[in-house]
Assembly symmetry: C2
Homo-oligomer: 367 residues x 2
């Protein structure tokens, strides 16, 4: 991973905001800037923080994680002499003699900022930087794009391999486990998020966790999954059925598919996330299901499966070439189920390039 | 889940601290108080907050999660009319007309407290309550203990089933996946944390994630795993080997086992976490491996796999009957590997009751 270039981009931003240093607490930003893969146990057991000034790069971590940090965070010093990382950050910052320090207010615990304040005293100014680093991650380099492409290829391959095994009577959970196994067999380092297999009425809850419910013929089965390859995520949703779909499923599926196609045909760099979202939302609203599309159209994907930019009715973010986003309209009918179709795409100069290779409509034989 | 009793205990504490209401942001506390299982995407995509006053119980969540919240959080109103949960909390609190509001400073983002402050204005006082709710969870009821016992029984059964399948040449990742599958087969609802299978030198990194490395004979293989059953976690570590262990493995294993036995024989209610930790640490230090026991002896287990009380050199927490804790000494030698043995136990009036049924020493046939 070319962290030198990333650090240079970060330091440019620090200079613009007249910051002497920054404390990084967002786990994905930590990985993106350092390569350190230590795992947090949310909400309050962090694997480590980074402290980055114009001349120094330090991982503040526990003894437990210091060997891993030394191996992975090339070019970083490892500071593991304090159990409380916020206090460790403060000690490191004091030694640097810095005055203006940025912190990630949307990814740091309230008490950690209190500890920084109390330890550093009034001579050091703490500045909330919001999503400064998250935003740096949005536009992907060719190297990052290649990893995402690989992660999506693994996801497509694993999904299609398991499709052939779907039978009425299999439990949602058995299917989810089989999908996870297939992801690993096809080369995933892990899963980007817990795999969702939501059959029949369960599909009305967009992120339902798989249960012991068994698949039946004719009902919608929503499957949402993604591999991680070399630190980068993929994201795929398809809604499938075994045997004959009923009329409602046919109708809703065709509306969602039309919404997806409208978005894929219409998205351009320079649009806001709101405008992109509206392309699909309008199709669904015109078909009379506006209230049933209960989430946003999509989100950025990279080292984190949800990142900038947001394609949502509330998003002012401007789409740029190099952004990688999901496009995933859905319709959810309580008591009946749901249909969601999700592609992963990269924004190009003149539109989007869809990375997903799995067919949108899949009719599985009923016996 | 008897949330009525839990809410009564929480309100008693609110009264003691003269709080009119509390905002709950810790996901485990949210589940424990409401039964809502919505899942967060850390660090900043929460599935919802709770606002609890002396007369009202409210889930503040997104439209995406509101159906699930309505089904699961019995007796709670669901407020899903604001995308920003901190702003939603503030609107709900304003309507309540409260003056003094507690918040979980160790489980809330800095910017969420800023939003609460800005929206509520100076008339409402915000009080950091630290781990007030986490501490309420530490002492388990008989019903909770039964669930933990079940989760541990499932974990023991799955571990022993897969042991019989271990062979040189299997990858760490294949073993981890098989263990996860076995947990589900034996009745787990899910895993309490990502399963660790660390073979040979990988065992020196206490929480290493399984890789494509293949098992060999004679080397230590550290396996750390736990089921979730009905919302409650188990936790089990064993270090096993295939064929003949070398002399270093024999020696280190016997030291760790002696440390475990000393702790299990010596732990009593009324001790501090520090005193409990010292029982094992002393055995390891006297054998010359003090620096190689790089983590604390144990931690509480419940709806979260790491919770109060901490058994560590820094812990002043007093052990009480009804606490459920891990006891897990370990020795880690960089380049060689590690040995950790972990039992789960409940603190009783006169000592501890070990819940783990898996044998401590397991010699697997080499061919």
């Amino acid at each position: 991973m070319n962290t030198a270039e990333r650090l240079a981009r970060l330091r440019e931003r620090l200079r613009e905001q007249e910051l002497d240093a920054i404390v990084i607490t967002h786990p994905s930003n930590r990985f993106w800037l350092s390569g350190f893969t230590g795992e947090d146990i949310p909400p309050n057991e962090s694997a480590g923080h980074l402290v980055i000034s114009h001349s120094a790069t330090i991982v503040v971590t526990s003894r437990l994680n210091s060997v891993l940090a030394q191996q992975e965070a090339i070019g970083f010093e490892v500071f593991d002499r304090e159990r409380d990382f916020a206090r460790g950050d403060a000690l490191v910052l004091q030694e640097m003699g810095v005055r203006r320090v940025g912190f990630e207010d949307r990814a740091i615990l309230y008490r950690d900022v209190q500890v920084l304040r109390e330890t550093l005293g009034p001579a050091v100014e703490l500045i909330a930087v919001g999503t400064l680093v998250d935003d740096l991650r949005a536009r992907k380099t060719p190297d990052e794009l290649e990893r995402i492409r690989q992660a999506q290829a693994v996801t497509d391959a694993a999904f299609q391999a398991v499709l052939a095994e779907l039978r009425p009577g299999l439990s949602e959970r058995a299917v989810a486990l089989r999908l996870e196994q297939a992801l690993v067999e096809f080369g995933a380092d892990g899963i980007a998020f817990p795999i969702a297999v939501a059959s029949g009425p369960h599909g009305a809850l967009p992120h339902y966790r798989p249960t012991q419910r068994r698949l039946s013929t004719g009902e919608p089965i929503v499957i949402d999954m993604g591999a991680i390859v070399a630190g980068y995520c993929a994201d795929l949703t398809r809604t499938v059925w075994i045997g004959q779909p009923d009329q409602q499923l046919e109708r809703i599926f065709s509306i969602v598919l039309a919404a997806l196609e409208a978005a894929e045909a219409g998205i351009r760099p320079g649009m806001t996330g709101r405008e992109a979202d509206a392309l699909a939302r309008q199709v669904i609203a015109e078909a009379g299901y506006g209230d049933a599309f209960t989430h946003s159209l999509g989100h950025g994907v990279g080292v984190r499966v949800h990142e900038a930019p947001a394609l949502s009715p509330a998003s002012d973010q401007i789409l740029e070439p190099g952004h990688v986003v999901t496009i995933e309209p859905g319709i959810y009918v309580p008591g009946w189920g749901g249909v969601r179709i999700e592609d992963l795409a990269v924004v190009r100069e003149s539109g989007i390039e869809v990375l997903t290779r799995t067919p949108k409509r899949i009719d599985l034989a009923g016996s």
